[in-house]
């Protein structure tokens, strides 16, 4: 793990690096955990599963350190591992056997009647979730980065490794597709110029 620039830290070497590695680990977690979560969430639209994948990813990072593996680019490594874990989840027995869908589980959890506003909000969210699930994972990813993490176009371009203009275009198209599907399910006007609100 890079110490400062690129000197590897090894928490298992007994040289007193563990405190330093822990601090470095927590810094990396603070910097990248939400992005890792967003990647997993955009894949499966499941916040709890995304949290599990994110935490497993960081635990694997620590194990890599303990094993003495040198990781030159921790962010790229984290995103790659999270992507693999998210894909592996599709093949896992848990996924195949599954539990109940989140809509059913959320209704099971609701033991007390919700206020009308909260109920409407939950219905809006449920509908938006259904529409988001119809979108491509790439669209969900860019929407999650933009609206979940409040990244601007420059940050998204840097994180995704694309040009800023490409981010504007992809974001605009993703919003347009979202609006079209919402209008298909409801009476929401699909012709709204989605590109009017671009991230700065």
């Amino acid at each position: 793990m890079p110490k400062g620039a690129d000197q590897p830290l090894n928490p298992g070497d007994g040289s007193g690096c563990r405190a330093e590695c822990r601090a470095e680990f927590e810094t990396l977690y603070e910097q990248h955990s939400r992005e890792v979560w967003a990647l997993a969430y955009a894949r499966w639209m499941d916040a709890d599963l995304a949290m599990d994948i994110m935490q497993e990813t960081f635990l694997r990072l620590w194990k890599q350190w303990e094993a003495g593996e040198e990781i030159q680019n921790p962010r790229a490594w984290l995103l790659r591992v999270a992507r693999n874990l998210a894909e592996d989840y599709a093949k896992s027995a848990f996924r195949r056997n599954g539990t109940q869908p989140p809509e059913i589980l959320s209704s099971v959890r609701a033991s007390q009647p919700l206020p009308v506003e909260e109920l409407e909000r939950q219905e809006q969210f449920a509908q938006l979730r259904a529409v988001l699930e119809e979108l491509a994972p790439a669209d969900r990813e860019i929407l999650t980065l933009r609206y979940g993490l409040d990244y601007d176009a420059n940050t998204i371009a840097e994180r995704l490794g694309v040009a800023v203009t490409a981010v504007h275009m992809r974001l605009s198209r993703a919003r347009q597709r979202l609006a079209e599907r919402l209008s298909y399910h409801t009476d929401f006007p699909a012709g709204q110029p989605a590109s009017e609100t671009q991230p700065t």
Binding site: E30, R34, R175, T186, A194
Partner: protein, 145 residues
């Protein structure tokens, strides 16, 4: 009755809906870093350095959760106990030769020494020896009896 919940009517509303939706998915507060137990263990080298730097008392640095030392002590105690038990068992099951040895010699002792004549008896050894007898010991014939 409207079958669908109210929908956003402007891009701003769509933005707000998306923002609210994704923000609601993020846990608040965000959980701390999932450090494994090995990372959370006390850092002995740093403690050692700090103790030396402060010039504090040199009591042994022993973590309260140092289970390896306790395990080593338990193993050593178990081995010692097993060895002691084995020694006690073997010493008690094998009768001591000294414990049953008679204080005075018995006939069998002389027999074991390869002589049935009793010439090694202490009383016989104390008797003055007759040179004639020594030269030619009397022959006892069966017919004389």
């Amino acid at each position: 009755m409207n079958a669908f919940p109210p929908q956003p009517e402007t891009p701003d509303e769509l933005d707000r809906l998306l923002s609210d939706f994704f923000k609601a998915q993020l846990k608040q507060p965000w959980p701390k870093a999932p450090l494994p137990p090995t990372a959370l263990a006390p850092i002995i080298p740093s403690e050692l350095v700090s103790v030396r730097a402060n010039g504090a008392d040199h009591r042994p640095l022993r973590s309260p959760t140092d289970t390896t030392a306790r395990a080593r002590f338990t193993l050593a105690a178990s081995v010692a106990l097993a060895l002691g038990a084995a020694w006690l068992f073997t010493s008690s099951s094998e009768p001591s030769r000294m414990a049953i040895a008679p204080e005075k010699p018995v006939i069998s002792d002389y027999l074991q020494r390869g002589s049935a004549s009793g010439e090694n008896h202490p009383l016989l050894k104390e008797l003055p020896k007759n040179p004639k007898v020594e030269a030619a010991p009397p022959k006892i014939m069966i017919d004389d009896l």
